[in-house]
């Protein structure tokens, strides 16, 4: 170890690097890494992209980009993306209120479009999951919970798959609309229509308290009563694959769920499914449910957004001051979303089970956007660039820049290329869906479907490169969990 230090002193260390917060391993690694400069020097060495002719700054990247700069930009983008999600959810609520007040066909279409619009920024925030951030760990008291304790608002905002029978009526489709355990069912017709033996509604009032109390009713993860996908179900209904007039409902057709807008009619023509006439009060309650979930969505998104408020947000402050631990969090979110959540749970499981239930936005057939936007979020984190819903471009110090500054030109370029490959593969799925072949039709062909296989392969490749970056920057994600072995 003495040798390393001597060598390092000879080389010098950038003065603006902060060593205080480094763990032993990352500090040692960083020291070791600085040394690679004498072997593989990007600035003015022999092996860098500029070769022996290279001069610091010539490769187009500011030599002044520091780890803290990258962390700060990442936090600023987090705020912008969550703020956009909050703004879109607020718009969604207004549009839903208009629709419930006047349940016309036009307003129904506007309501669905507002939901689709609200998913655009949110999908790009998901790279801020899986990294001990507010979305996963923000507790009711405003503090952040322990690593991976699952106490945050993510479930309330975006839980899936739904056992949608807890919300509303369901029809026989694939036997997957119930809770995990039948003991946790709330009764026929769900919260909206379930009745007691005396004929009164089991849940007298549809309000935030009722829906929140019934979230994961019975500790049952399929009893999802709130969030984007609850709203999605109330707008589209189950995807019954009836359009193609097939005998087998298991063969997916190219349309989403077909809930009729008469399901919200409160002036004498209320239905629960086409032709199934109900009392107006059922549609009134359904409308109340719709607006209430939008209100709850805003409430939870507000809590997360406030944590990320630049300068004043509690998490923003600790995150930007977090040094290498924060840098590790950025990369961990990128890697875990790429492999486990996106390639794994959201794409691979749907394929191997060939089940619409395992498709992320199964009611609306918007899964292609979920895939595209999740992948986009990872790319955003790498490039430190995010386009806001109003068109403003947020841009700053990127991991790409940092890698170049730290002499990792090749790796910088490799991951850039890998992310680009993923986005181009996701664009193919996106295009197919927009031109009549949604993800649930593509996935019927299974894991060999070339367009889907391309996305999975690209995500696997980019995850490998993200791992390489973690090693190259010397920020082991183990450090993230060392602080959890506290008093228990």
């Amino acid at each position: 170890m003495r040798t390393i230090i001597i060598c390092n002193l000879l080389l010098g260390i950038k003065e603006d690097m902060k060593f205080s917060s480094f763990s032993k391993i990352s500090a040692a690694l960083l020291v070791a890494l600085s040394l690679t400069a004498c072997v593989e020097d990007g600035d003015d060495g022999t092996s860098g992209v500029a070769g022996a002719e290279g001069i610091a700054g010539k490769s187009g990247v500011s030599t002044f980009v520091t780890r803290d700069d990258v962390i700060t930009t990442n936090a600023n983008i987090a705020y912008a993306a969550y703020a956009d999600s909050l703004i879109s959810a607020t718009t969604l609520k207004t549009v839903l209120e208009t629709f419930v007040a006047d349940p016309s066909k036009v307003n129904f279409a506007l309501a669905k479009q507002a939901w689709l619009d609200s998913r655009e920024p949110y999908g790009q925030t998901e790279v801020y999951r899986f990294r001990q951030g507010p979305i996963d760990e923000l507790k009711a008291d405003g503090t952040l919970g322990k690593d991976d304790a699952g106490e945050g608002p993510e479930g309330l905002i975006n839980a899936w798959p739904l056992g949608e029978a807890i919300i509303d009526y369901v029809e026989a489709v694939d036997g997957l609309s119930g809770p995990e355990s039948p003991a946790n069912a709330v009764g026929m017709g769900g919260i909206i229509a379930a009745k007691k033996d005396d004929g009164t509604f089991k849940y007298a009032t549809i309000d935030a308290t009722t829906l929140s109390n019934l979230f994961e009713h019975g500790e049952d993860g399929r009893n999802v009563t709130t969030g984007y996908h609850a709203i999605e179900f109330l707008l589209w209904g189950q995807d019954l694959n009836k359009e193609a007039a097939q005998s087998d409902s298991k063969v997916h057709d190219n349309t989403p769920g077909q809930r009729p807008f008469s399901d919200f009619n409160t002036s004498g023509a209320c239905t629960s499914g086409l032709g199934n006439v109900m009392a107006d009060e059922i549609c009134t309650r359904r409308g109340q449910y719709l607006v209430t979930t939008a209100e709850l969505l805003i409430k939870e998104l507000t809590r997360v957004t406030e944590q990320w408020e630049p300068v004043s947000g509690a998490h923003y402050k600790t995150f930007v001051a977090g040094g290498d631990v924060s840098l590790a969090k950025i990369l961990e979110g990128m890697g875990r979303l790429s492999f486990g959540e996106l390639a794994g749970e959201r794409i691979n499981v749907a394929l191997i089970e060939n089940s619409q239930e395992d498709e992320h936005s199964c009611f609306s057939d918007n899964t292609h956007r979920d895939i595209f936007l999740n992948a986009k979020g990872v790319q955003n984190s790498f490039n430190a660039k995010y386009v806001r819903i109003d068109g403003e471009v947020i841009e700053g110090a990127s991991i790409y820049d940092l890698l170049v500054v730290e002499g990792q030109h090749e790796l910088a370029n490799k991951l850039r290329g890998a992310l680009e490959a993923t986005m181009s593969a996701a664009a193919v799925i996106d295009t197919k869906a927009k031109t009549g072949t949604p993800f649930d039709v593509l996935m019927q062909e299974g894991i060999a479907q070339p367009n889907i296989k391309a996305v999975i392969d690209a995500l696997v490749a980019q995850t490998d490169d993200i791992e390489a970056v973690i090693i190259a920057l010397g920020v082991t994600t183990n450090d993230l969990r060392d602080d959890t072995e506290q008093t228990i």
């Binding site: 170890m1 040798t3 070791a32 029978a165 009526y169 999975i456």
Partner: protein, 560 residues
């Protein structure tokens, strides 16, 4: 040590080698430590120095070794170890396995106990006993056998109380209930039968005069859809146990467990554990059973496949049949209507391996009552531990084990794209986080005679004797813990020692959960009081402790 840690070590090594070319000479000093003069301690079954009754081991708070989670809220049984989170690939396998564990397969049924793994392992924890006699058992089940341990020729070895009709969207669960003789004609499909439990109260008191009350279960079965059970039928009701930690138990070397066997009670402590020897379906070898209440299954994989088949009606490459017997025509007919029929199994190996992986690496909750910074345990936990060991509860609930090499799946090597089958030369990579761990599960995984006896009668609801008809129930009454059911090597009074880790969080994870195989014990204290047979001495020692001491011992159990 997990993958990225290895990589970091390697890169450190490589980089420091590179350095020597960078400046100065290599000045790394090597110090060869002098090994301490070996004493000769008596070693335990794991080859370790036996636990000290007064001094708590440094690592005792890490119940699952590296596979420990520090979450102790309602999610405590659903967590992944840090080493899994830190490896993107393993994290991804866990996430997918979790999804499959929670989601019903497309081809559940035709008859079944539940739709998904999580349907019984509520929140990855224990199932619950129905609150009323008319509430169906949806997270516990009833096993069947005659006095020779043979399965019923019509109903098999387990009652599946529901038909698939109860699990179809828009139907109430009751649409799948059983109906007296309803499926005898071979056309209409119903659940097999409706088992339920009524409790009788037993009261007693400690030597110090404190009173207690226990719930003694009476098992009853009504509405048999396929006709009567065979002669000499016996019933065993079982609550789904908590699902975590099983990969560690799977990885304890068999010889370590066999070292605990004491069939003749040669040490005269009244405890004579014996191994349940069962067949590993992959190797064909007779090996020690570790899983299920009578240790019927040797591996997590076999246990998972058994649950898919028996509890959910999902066929796999390991158990390729549907849960219908040849005599159940209505069931066979319905099985032909599934998506995947004939030779095509319902759940493919890729999915099965993901569920197996998830189940194996589910983390064990860390102990509570301990402050890591000061390395101090609470006084009551420290005292309770001593009382636990003094009462020789550890005679069966062996506190500590070590794991060996936790081999990768018998099904093959997982990747996102699929599963690469094992070959003679290539076996799936071992699971590092489960291998070579020191763990504290508090079980010997052996069978012990817990005493008691059972009798089955036919009675009407009013308690009158009967022999046939829709109103004529099967009723099983038992004394003590016996269920009268022979399963493999296990007799009607023998049970496998269950692990105690996570015990204090059982009701945090699932408020309605209770203890022992059929959930009869509402509290841990009640569970202790039910012990008998080989555990009689220990139970009596507990009862003779002062009230304060009993509370300390229970505080210790709560901290597990």
């Amino acid at each position: 040590m997990h993958k990225s840690a290895v990589v970091i070590f390697l890169s450190l090594f490589l980089l420091s080698s590179v350095l020597s070319g960078c400046g100065g000479s290599d000045a790394v000093e090597t110090v060869t430590p002098t090994p301490p003069t070996p004493k000769e301690p008596v070693l335990d079954h794991s080859g370790l120095t036996p636990l000290n009754i007064d001094v708590i081991d440094k690592s005792e708070y890490l119940s699952g070794g590296e596979a420990t989670t520090f979450v102790s809220n309602e999610n405590a049984f659903s967590r992944k170890p840090a080493a899994i989170i830190g490896d993107f690939q393993l994290d991804g396998f866990f996430t997918q396995g979790d999804h499959l564990f929670r989601t019903p397969d497309d081809d559940i049924g035709p008859i079944l106990s539940t739709g998904s793994c999580q349907g019984c392992h509520l929140n990855d924890g224990r199932g619950v006993v129905p609150g009323t006699p008319t509430t169906p058992m949806s997270s516990m089940l009833v096993k069947l056998a005659n006095g020779k341990g043979e399965a019923d020729p019509i109903y098999g070895d387990q009652i599946q109380p529901f038909s698939i009709h109860g699990f179809i969207d828009g139907n109430a669960l009751s649409a799948g209930f059983s109906k007296h003789d309803g499926s005898v004609s071979g056309v209409q499909l119903y659940g097999e039968a409706f088992p339920f439990i009524v409790f009788e109260t037993i009261t007693g008191s400690y030597p110090d005069g404190s009173a207690y009350a226990l719930r003694n279960p009476v098992y009853k079965v009504r509405d048999l859809s396929y006709g009567a059970f065979m002669e000499d039928i016996r019933f065993s009701a079982r609550v789904a146990p908590q699902a975590f930690g099983v990969g560690l138990l799977d990885a304890i070397p068999q010889e370590n467990l066999l070292a605990l066997v004491d069939e003749e009670d040669s040490n005269s402590d009244g405890i004579s554990g014996r191994a349940s020897m069962v067949t590993n379906v992959f190797t064909g070898e007779k090996v020690i059973g570790r899983f299920a209440y009578k240790a019927q299954n040797p591996t997590v994989l076999q246990q998972v496949a058994g649950a898919y088949n028996g509890d959910m009606g999902v066929s796999t490459s390991i158990i390729a049949s549907e849960p219908c017997l040849e005599t159940q025509l209505a069931c066979l007919l319905a099985a032909e209507q599934e998506n995947k029929t004939g030779d095509e199994v319902d759940l493919g190996d890729h999915s099965l391996a993901l569920v197996e992986f998830y189940n194996r690496v589910l983390a064990v909750p860390a102990r509570r009552g301990y402050d890591k910074n000061s390395d101090i345990w609470t006084e009551e936990v420290t005292a309770g531990r001593k009382l636990f060991l003094q009462a020789n509860c550890s005679g069966c609930h062996t506190p500590r084990h070590v794991t060996g090499d936790a081999k990768g799946s018998e099904l093959g090597e997982l990747s996102l794209g699929g599963l690469t089958a094992n070959t003679d030369s290539q076996h799936a990579q071992s699971i590092a986080v489960l291998s070579n761990q020191t763990i504290y599960p508090y079980t010997d995984l052996l069978l012990h005679d817990m005493g008691g006896s059972c009798a089955v009668t036919r009675e009407t609801t009013a308690g009158l004797s009967c022999s046939t008809g829709a109103e004529c129930l099967y009723v099983q009454r038992c004394d003590g813990l016996a269920d009268g059911l022979i399963q493999g090597d296990a007799s009607g009074t023998e049970w496998k020692t269950p692990a105690l880790w996570g015990l204090g969080l059982v009701q945090t994870v699932n408020k309605g959960a209770s203890f022992l195989h059929d959930g009869r014990a509402r509290t841990i204290e009640e569970a202790v009081l039910w012990h008998d047979g080989e555990a009689k001495n220990s139970k009596e020692t507990f009862m003779n402790y002062s009230k304060a001491e009993r509370e300390q011992l229970l505080a210790f159990l709560q901290s597990l």
